[in-house]
Structure formats: C-alpha cells, structure tokens
Symmetry: C2
Subunit: 138 residues, 2 copies
C-alpha cells in the first residue's frame, strides 16, 4: 500500500546541510536561514524550518531543546553534552564521556521507561567570564 518514499535531494536541502556542517555553533533556525540565504537568496524561512525538522526526525541532524527561546540545530549526531553561557546565550559542546549508566539510576527513580538523557551545563564562556570581573560599578 504505502511504500516509504525517500526524502528528495533538493538544492535547498543540500545547502542547508552543507552550511550546518560548516559550523560548530549550534545555530538557531533563523541563523541557518541567514547562512543559507547567502547562497540561495530566494529560499523561504518556512522551508528552512520544514527541512531542519525533517532532518532531525530522520536523525540526520540533531535538534537541541536547550534553554533560551529558540531551538538550535547540530550537525554532530553522536551523543554529547552542551554548555550554555548564561550571559550571552552561546552554546558549545562539552567533550566529556556520555554517562550511559545514569539512565538506569533514573529508571529506578521514576515510573518512566527511560530512553535517553541530555545534560545541559550552564556557566560563563571565556569572553563573558573575562568581562565579568567588574563587581563595583554603578
């Protein structure tokens, strides 16, 4: 009845994916839109949203539901954790080993069927931490 039709390889999809792979900055949909628009000026924001969503459903990319108001996207799909700067909102990877074992602790401490976990650290990035040390000002 219904065959699984593979997703078509359109120019828009290629460019979105290429641009996402160029950066490590976990851009928002709108930032991806800006990047892609330099090469495809007529692309619509809706197309960017649709394709980022689609690619993250497929597992081709990762949709990050981290703090802040916008979702972010990551071309690196192997499990890893993130840090977010509470000052400027920037998000970076944390290259520490993924603790698979904590899924079991959570399974014992909840009534859920645990599938995965994500850790979001919060702190200050280089730049913001160095800009901070001015405690006394009015």
């Amino acid at each position: 009845m219904h065959e699984i039709t593979p997703m078509r390889l359109t120019t828009q999809r290629q460019v979105i994916l290429e641009e996402l792979f160029k950066v490590t900055s976990h851009p928002t949909a709108n930032e991806v839109y800006d990047m892609v628009r330099k090469r495809l000026p007529r692309i619509g924001l809706g197309t960017v949203y649709r394709n980022l969503e689609l690619m993250s459903e497929t597992g081709l990319i990762l949709k990050l539901e981290v703090g802040g108001t916008q979702k972010r996207f990551d071309a690196v799909v192997t499990p890893h954790y993130h840090v977010r700067c509470i000052q400027c909102g920037k998000v970076n990877d944390v290259d520490m080993p993924v603790q698979q074992s904590i899924n079991e602790s959570a399974a014992q401490s909840s009534h859920y069927l645990i599938l995965s976990h994500h850790i979001e650290f919060t702190g200050l990035c280089d730049q913001c931490a160095n800009a901070q040390p001015k405690p006394s000002m009015n």
Copy 2:
C-alpha cells in the same frame, strides 16, 4: 541613591505561589493562569507571566527550560532532575541524587566557568507506555 525595594506582597502573587505549591506537575504559565483564574477571575495572563518570571529570578521558584514549546515552573527549588514523556509531553521529577561531581568533568572538558547543570531524561510515562501496544483504537 537606589535602595533595593522588596517585592510587594499582592493578592495575585500570593495566589500564584499557593497554586504552584499545590501541584507537582510543573505547569506552564498558561496552566498556572487557569489554576489561578478560578480564584481570581480578573487576573491577566501578563501578570502571571510577569510574576512567574520575577519569582524565578528571585529564586523563589524554578523556571524549567526543558524540551517542548513552553517553559514550565516548579515550586521545588532544591536541585533535582526531570523526565519528559516524548508522547504526551508531561514532565515529572526524578528522585535520584544530584551528581555534583560531573560539574568538574565538564569544567575540564570546556572553556567555560561551570556553574550548574541540569539533566533531562526522555522516555515514556506509565500511561503512554501502556497505551503503546495498541495500534488500533479510536
């Protein structure tokens, strides 16, 4: 010049706080609005947003930036982790010990000044896990 004026104790604030303490469901701003409106029918949604924001800045309550489209609020401010059902979106606490030590791992694996972390588990809640094995229903 500027003294720190304490936040005024208004009826709206009392009721918002009381209602939030009544539940363990991590309601969204709109859900809090519905709860509060039963007691204060003329309260505005803006007031609820303003006060939830204010109280979370003060540390009186917790603003959860978990997955999904809306922010959620929690009257329990002691650090703890959360699980979110990928099916129905419900959020619950996970009563496992908080791993303070992983902050150090993260500090070594990033250029950030790490302040804290939050773990969000994802899985299926009781009801959704039991509802799964039934592909045909209406």
